[in-house]
C-alpha cells in the first residue's frame, strides 16, 4: 500500500464518524429541530456498540446495539422537546451531559478490554486492484453506509414527497400543520433518524476507529458534526465535503505530531476545534449563503392549536 493510499484511508476513517453524525442532524435540523445532544447520543452509541460487540463477539451486533443506544437517547430528547415542549438548547445539553455520564457508568466495566473490530469489505479480485482497489472496494462497511446515507438524504430531501414534508415542517410548522401534516410525528421520526446515525457514528469510533472503549472517546466530534450542519448550509453534498475536509484537518494534526516538527502536540490537537470556529466564521460572514437554507422554524417548539 503506497503512502497516498494510507493517507486517504486514514482521512476517510477520521471523516466517516463526522459524516454519519452530521447527516442525521441535517435531517433533524431540516425538520426544524435543533438537537445539541449529538455528542451524548454518539458516546452512548460508542459504549453500547463496544459492550454488545465485546459480550457477543460479533461486531455487527455491536452496530445494532449502537444504533439502538443512539435512538433511545434521541427519543428521550424527542419526548421532552416535542411532547413536553421544553427548550431545545437546554434539552440537547441535558442529553449530552446524561450521555457522557451514562456511557461512563456503563463503560466502567469495559475499560481496557479488547474490542472487536468491524472487518473491512473484501471482494475477490476487485479489492486487489492496484491503486484504487483498496480505496474503493476495501473499506469497512460503515464507510459505504455513510455514503449511501448521504446520497439517500440528498435525493430524499430534494425529490421525494417525504423530503418535501420534512422541509415544509422545518420551514413553517404552522403551515404544515394547517395542511394536515402531523408536525410532531414527522419531527419524532427525524429525531430518531438523527439518533440512529449518531449511534452509528459512535459505533464507528468504538468498533472501527479505535476498537476499544475510552471514556469521552467522542472528543467533541458530536459538536463538530453540529458545526458541519451550519457550515454546509444544510446541503448534503457540501456536508460530505465539509466532513472530509475536517477529517483531513484531524489527520493532518496526527501526521504532524508523528513527524515531530517540534510543534507542541496540544497545538496540533486543537486544530479541528480552531478549524471549526474559522469555518463557522467564514460561512456566517456570507449572509446570503447562511440564511438561504436555514430552516425558518429551527429550534422553535410547536404547540398545535386545538
Amino acid at each position: 500500500m503506497s503512502a497516498y493510499e494510507a493517507i486517504i484511508l486514514t482521512i476517510i476513517t477520521a471523516s466517516t464518524p463526522l459524516l454519519l453524525a452530521a447527516i442525521g442532524e441535517l435531517v433533524v435540523e431540516r425538520s426544524g429541530v435543533l438537537n445539541l445532544g449529538i455528542e451524548g447520543m454518539m458516546v452512548m452509541g460508542a459504549v453500547c456498540g463496544f459492550a454488545a460487540a465485546h459480550v457477543s463477539g460479533s461486531a455487527w451486533l455491536g452496530v445494532i446495539a449502537a444504533v439502538m443506544g443512539g435512538v433511545a437517547m434521541s427519543l428521550l430528547f424527542a419526548l421532552l422537546t416535542q411532547t413536553l415542549i421544553t427548550n431545545q438548547v437546554a434539552t440537547g445539553l441535558a442529553i449530552t451531559l446524561l450521555g457522557l455520564g451514562l456511557s461512563g457508568l456503563i463503560g466502567s466495566d469495559f475499560v481496557g478490554l479488547p474490542g472487536v473490530k468491524l472487518s473491512n469489505v473484501s471482494i475477490p479480485w476487485l479489492t486487489e486492484l492496484p491503486y484504487v482497489g483498496r480505496l474503493v472496494f476495501g473499506q469497512d462497511p460503515l464507510v459505504y453506509v455513510s455514503i449511501v446515507l448521504t446520497a439517500g438524504v440528498a435525493y430524499g430531501l430534494k425529490y421525494t414527497r417525504w423530503g418535501l414534508i420534512i422541509r415544509a415542517v422545518g420551514q413553517s410548522h404552522s403551515s404544515a400543520h394547517a395542511l394536515g401534516y402531523r408536525v410532531i410525528a414527522v419531527r419524532y421520526a427525524c429525531i430518531a433518524f438523527g439518533g440512529a446515525t449518531s449511534g452509528l457514528a459512535g459505533a464507528y469510533l468504538s468498533l472501527v476507529y479505535t476498537p476499544q472503549w475510552i471514556e469521552n472517546m467522542t472528543a467533541g466530534r458530536g459538536w463538530i458534526a453540529l458545526a458541519l450542519g451550519v457550515f454546509s448550509t444544510w446541503l448534503p453534498g457540501r456536508l460530505a465535503a465539509g466532513a472530509y475536509l475536517f477529517g483531513g484537518v484531524w489527520i493532518l494534526g496526527l501526521y504532524a505530531q508523528a513527524m515531530g516538527l517540534g510543534i507542541p502536540s496540544q497545538l496540533l490537537s486543537s486544530l479541528p476545534y480552531v478549524a471549526t470556529i474559522l469555518a463557522l466564521v467564514v460561512i456566517s460572514t456570507n449572509r446570503r449563503l447562511s440564511v438561504i437554507n436555514t430552516p425558518a422554524s429551527l429550534g422553535q417548539g410547536f404547540v398545535p392549536d386545538r
Binding site: 415542549i85 438548547v89 434539552t91 441535558a94 457508568l105 459538536w223 453540529l226 496540544q266
Partner: protein, 362 residues
C-alpha cells in the same frame, strides 16, 4: 382517555417553586432504580449519596468547597440564560482565568502581600472575561452561533493549560510531573476551618447576593429579563441586543475565570492538567435548577456539590463508579426541564370524544 397539555393563561409561580423539588424527587427515585439495577442496595446508596455528606463537619466543609465554584459560575450563567445568551463554554473560561491568575505566582513568585492576591483574583476574572469575548465578538460581529464557538473554545483552553503545565510553566524542580510550582503565602487564598474552607466561598456568596439584588431591583436586571423573554419589546425600549451579548459574556466569563482562579489558589494550590471536575458544565444544571435566579442558584449549587461528595462516598463505600455523579447530574437537568413544562402548561385528561364527524387532525 387522552392526555393533553393545555397552556396556562399565566405562568404558574407555584410550579416554578415546586418544579425543582419534583425534579429532585424524580432523580432520587430514578437513582434508586439505577442502584438496584446494578445490584447495589438502593436505600444505603441513596443515604450515602444525599444524606451522609451532611452528617459530618468534615464533609460539610467539602460540600461548601465544591459549592463555591458552582455557585460562582452558576449565577453568571443564570443571567446569560435569562437574557437568552447561550454561553456553554464556562469550563474554558474557568481554565483561562486560572491560567491568567497563575501568572502572579509563576512569573512573579517574589511578589508577596495582599495586593498579589488581589491581582490574582482580578487577573482570573479578566482572563475569563477576555476568553468569553471571543464568542461574544464572533456572535456580534459575524453572527456566529455562540453555543458552538464557546464550546469549541473549551477544548482549546484545556489543551492550552495542558501545554503550559507540561511545557513553559512546568515546575523545574517537580521531577518532570506536569505541574506548576506550588503556590505559597499570599498566592493562596486565606483558609480556615480544617484548612479547606477558603475565601472563595465568601466571594461566591457575596456575588450571588449582589446579582440577586441587581436582577430584582435594578434597571439592568429588568433589561436582561426583557431582552431575554421579548427581544422585540426590548428593541423598542432601546435595549441593545449586541450590548447584552457582550455584557452577558463579560459577566459569566469573569465569574467563571474567578472560579478557576479560586480553585487553583484554593483547594489545588498549583496548576495541573485537570483543575475542574466539569464545574463549567455542571453549573449549567445549577443555573436551571436554581430557576435562573441568583438566590436559587446558591441552593442549587449546594445540592449539586452534595452530589459530587456523595458520588465519591458511594464509590468508596460501595465500589460504584464515580460516573454516577455525572449520571445524577444529567438526570437532574432532564427532570427539571421536564417539570418546568408544568409552569406554562397544565395536564388535562380528556375523556374519549364522541364521534362528531368533524375532521379533527390532532
Amino acid at each position: 382517555m387522552q392526555i393533553v397539555l393545555e397552556k396556562r393563561s399565566q405562568a404558574s409561580s407555584w410550579m416554578n417553586v415546586m418544579s425543582p423539588v419534583l425534579a429532585v424527587s424524580l432523580t432520587v427515585i430514578m437513582g434508586g432504580l439505577i442502584f438496584a439495577a446494578i445490584g447495589k442496595p438502593p436505600l444505603t446508596a441513596l443515604y450515602l449519596y444525599f444524606i451522609d455528606p451532611l452528617t459530618s463537619w468534615w464533609s460539610i466543609e467539602e460540600v461548601l468547597v465544591k459549592a463555591g465554584p458552582l455557585v460562582l459560575i452558576g449565577v453568571g450563567l443564570a443571567v446569560c440564560f435569562k437574557a437568552n445568551v447561550w454561553n456553554i463554554g464556562a469550563e474554558g473560561q474557568l481554565t483561562v482565568g486560572a491560567l491568567m491568575g497563575a501568572m502572579v505566582p509563576i512569573l512573579f513568585g517574589d511578589w508577596q502581600g495582599p495586593w498579589a492576591l488581589v491581582a490574582m483574583l482580578l487577573l482570573g476574572a479578566v482572563g475569563g472575561a477576555m476568553f468569553a469575548f471571543i464568542p461574544a465578538w464572533l456572535k456580534t460581529r459575524f453572527g456566529v452561533n455562540e453555543i458552538l464557538t464557546s464550546l469549541m473554545l473549551v477544548y482549546i483552553a484545556q489543551l492550552l493549560l495542558d501545554w503550559m503545565v507540561r511545557g513553559p510553566w512546568k515546575d523545574p524542580h517537580g521531577f518532570n510531573f506536569p505541574k506548576s510550582v506550588a503556590f505559597e503565602g499570599w498566592h493562596l487564598l486565606p483558609m480556615w476551618g480544617d484548612g479547606r474552607m477558603h475565601l472563595g466561598l465568601v466571594i461566591a456568596l457575596v456575588i450571588a447576593l449582589v446579582l440577586y439584588w441587581v436582577m430584582r431591583n435594578n434597571l439592568k436586571g429588568f433589561e436582561i429579563r426583557v431582552v431575554g423573554s421579548a427581544p422585540r419589546a426590548g428593541a423598542f425600549a432601546g435595549f441593545s441586543q449586541t450590548k447584552m451579548v457582550w455584557f452577558c459574556f463579560a459577566l459569566s466569563g469573569a465569574l467563571a475565570g474567578l472560579a478557576g482562579l479560586i480553585e487553583v489558589a484554593g483547594p489545588i494550590g498549583q496548576l495541573q492538567p485537570h483543575i475542574s471536575p466539569n464545574y463549567g458544565f455542571t453549573a449549567i444544571i445549577v443555573a436551571f435548577l436554581g430557576r435562573l435566579n441568583p438566590l436559587g442558584v446558591v441552593f442549587a449549587g449546594l445540592l449539586l456539590a452534595v452530589s459530587y461528595i456523595g458520588g465519591e462516598g458511594v464509590q468508596i463505600e460501595l465500589g460504584i463508579s464515580d460516573k454516577t455523579t455525572q449520571v445524577f447530574q444529567g438526570m437532574l437537568l432532564f427532570f427539571i426541564l421536564m417539570c418546568d413544562t408544568l409552569i406554562l402548561y397544565r395536564i388535562r385528561y380528556l375523556s374519549a370524544k364522541p364521534v362528531t364527524g368533524s375532521g379533527d387532525a390532532s
